[in-house]
Amino acid sequence: MAVEVSNNHKQQKATERTPRILVFACKWCGLIGADGAGRKREPLPPNFRVIPVECVGSVEPDAVIRAFADGMDGVIVMGCHLGGCRFNDANHAAFKRLELLRALLEGVGIGRDRLLVTFGTAHEGHQFTDVLRNFTNLIAKKESLDTSWTSSRARMI
Amino acid sequence: MDCRFVRTTCPFCGTGCGMLLKVVDGRVVDTLPDRESVVGRGHLCIKGWSAHEFVHHPDRLTHPLVKKGDSFERISWEEAISLAAEKFRGIAEQYGNDAIGGFSSAKCTNEENYLFQKLIRAGFQNNNVDHCARL
């Protein structure tokens, strides 16, 4: 462990690549925020995909891990404000779980900031745009995740 | 309930990691690595960890089968051995001794492997014998 192997092959410049961002948006707030951004025709970077979910409670932490394993550079989970969940406390439950996942991501060096858990209400469409733009900028400064973590030595047998 | 841990050696390859089989009322139900084993030092690979699974597995081969048509039929050991001997003899007579070879297994014991090469060398009179763990 004493010898530090260079990771230079992974350091690409931010301009050379667009990060891949996956958004889990709850149907009642996050998705409506995305809709609001769309209605205003706010130009957004096309590097994100939205998966609508009934409630952020149904976003398995394992699905977030799977997303990173499938080559996402960042994941956003968007739910309703605490206290404003249609499903009682489900968003708070999700928040607690995902905070723990953030601690794990930080531990293994992926960095807790690659997973963004955020809460808003339906009318905050302009904030959806802000969050996406800022998050894209933040992730673009980091090295890509989809190098040797997932694919380099792995092969089918 | 009679539950005991039986020390043994992993049969899957030539490394010979030590392991403990948990035996409950005469049935092997679980495998644990032997932490006192000088070879494995408490480690096993996936094959060792799953060693207990095949012992009582319903698909395990426990008696000779012969293929008739599309299906296998159970036959006795005498029938099986004489059938094999007859077929080997036929091949040797038709194509010569070198047409027969043997491939042994790391799961067998040293003694079994000795006997196997003896069978090929002395019985079939050639050197066509090898082993899966010869890397």
């Binding site: 530090e4 406390d89 794990l104 933040l138 | 020390r7």
Partner: protein, 285 residues
């Protein structure tokens, strides 16, 4: 500090009494058998306990749980528990895997030396019957842990990558973990972990495994000890254990009645002094 022999004598007399009084049907512990080799053993007769030993460390929680699962009704098993065994069994009781009434835990203290090998901050059970509690070790003082958990993420990602790449997908970590009880396990197939890929997909395999134990891991180190590739798997859990301790003052395995904060106590509004990110301020921390 008691001598090793004194501890063994004390354990023997205590356990013999349990068997003689009918408090326990059997005792589960370590025995020195033929050739001086130590292995776990189920003692059913008081005389058999003469071969009982307490060292080396051998995680007994998982086999104990499995014995109790198949045991007939009325069977009571006394288990010689180290601190980590006790905490693991407490977690198993919380998750309905072990009948608390069928379990008698006999607590044994670990030596300080053992604690420093395990990087254990609590090398003693809450109910200590044999030996004296040694001082714990803060795992975050260990240079190996610091190497992997402290510093900038980019460097550490490279370090973790090299460590985790050694994985041979033996499932030893899962098999030896006292808390892993699911059958089938998510690590065995689609869509969580791709089948037939060797070595495994590092991220999905190790992070899913680690996260499943997020609030239950008692840091017993069984996974790490079983790993033939020498991956410091407990270090992966330390990050989450620290988050739980700092965020919720919770530690797994200490109290049967204390529920994990991840599943309970949801609040309607952000708590005082614990800001919850909003859409506006999420990116500012």
């Amino acid at each position: 500090m008691k001598t090793q022999q004194a501890m063994i004598d004390q354990a023997k007399s205590l356990l013999k009494k349990l068997l003689e009084d009918g408090e326990a049907t059997a005792v589960f512990g370590l025995a020195r058998g033929m050739g001086g080799v130590t292995a776990p053993r189920i003692f059913t007769m008081p005389d058999e306990l003469d071969s009982l030993v307490l060292e080396p460390k051998w995680p007994l929680a998982k086999p104990a749980m499995e014995i109790l699962r198949t045991a007939p009704g009325g069977y009571r098993l006394a288990v010689v528990c180290r601190g980590c065994d006790e905490r693991a069994l407490v977690e198993l009781i919380k998750r309905n895997q072990v009948d608390a009434d069928a379990l008698v835990m006999v607590g044994v203290a670990c030596s300080g030396e053992q604690a420093s090998i395990c990087l254990c901050d609590r090398p003693y059970p809450s109910k200590l019957d044999i030996g004296e509690a040694a001082h714990g070790v803060d795992p975050f003082d260990d240079p190996g842990v610091k190497y992997l958990l402290e510093g900038d993420t980019h460097t550490r990602m490279g370090r973790w990558e090299r460590v985790l790449k050694r994985c041979v997908k033996c499932y030893g970590c899962r098999n030896s973990c006292p808390i892993c009880v699911c059958d089938p396990c998510k690590l065995e197939g689609e869509p969580w972990v791709r089948r037939g890929i060797i070595p495994t997909e590092i991220l999905s395999f190790h992070l899913i495994r680690a996260f499943h134990l997020a609030d239950t891991c008692v840091a017993c180190g069984a996974c790490q000890e079983a790993c033939p590739a020498g991956i410091p798997l407990v270090t992966l859990q330390h990050a989450m254990r620290r988050a739980l301790r700092e965020g919720f003052e919770y530690e797994a395995g200490l109290d049967v009645n204390e529920k994990t904060p991840v599943l309970f106590d949801f609040i309607q509004a952000p708590e005082k002094d614990r800001p919850i990110p909003d859409w506006i301020n999420t990116l500012r921390d």
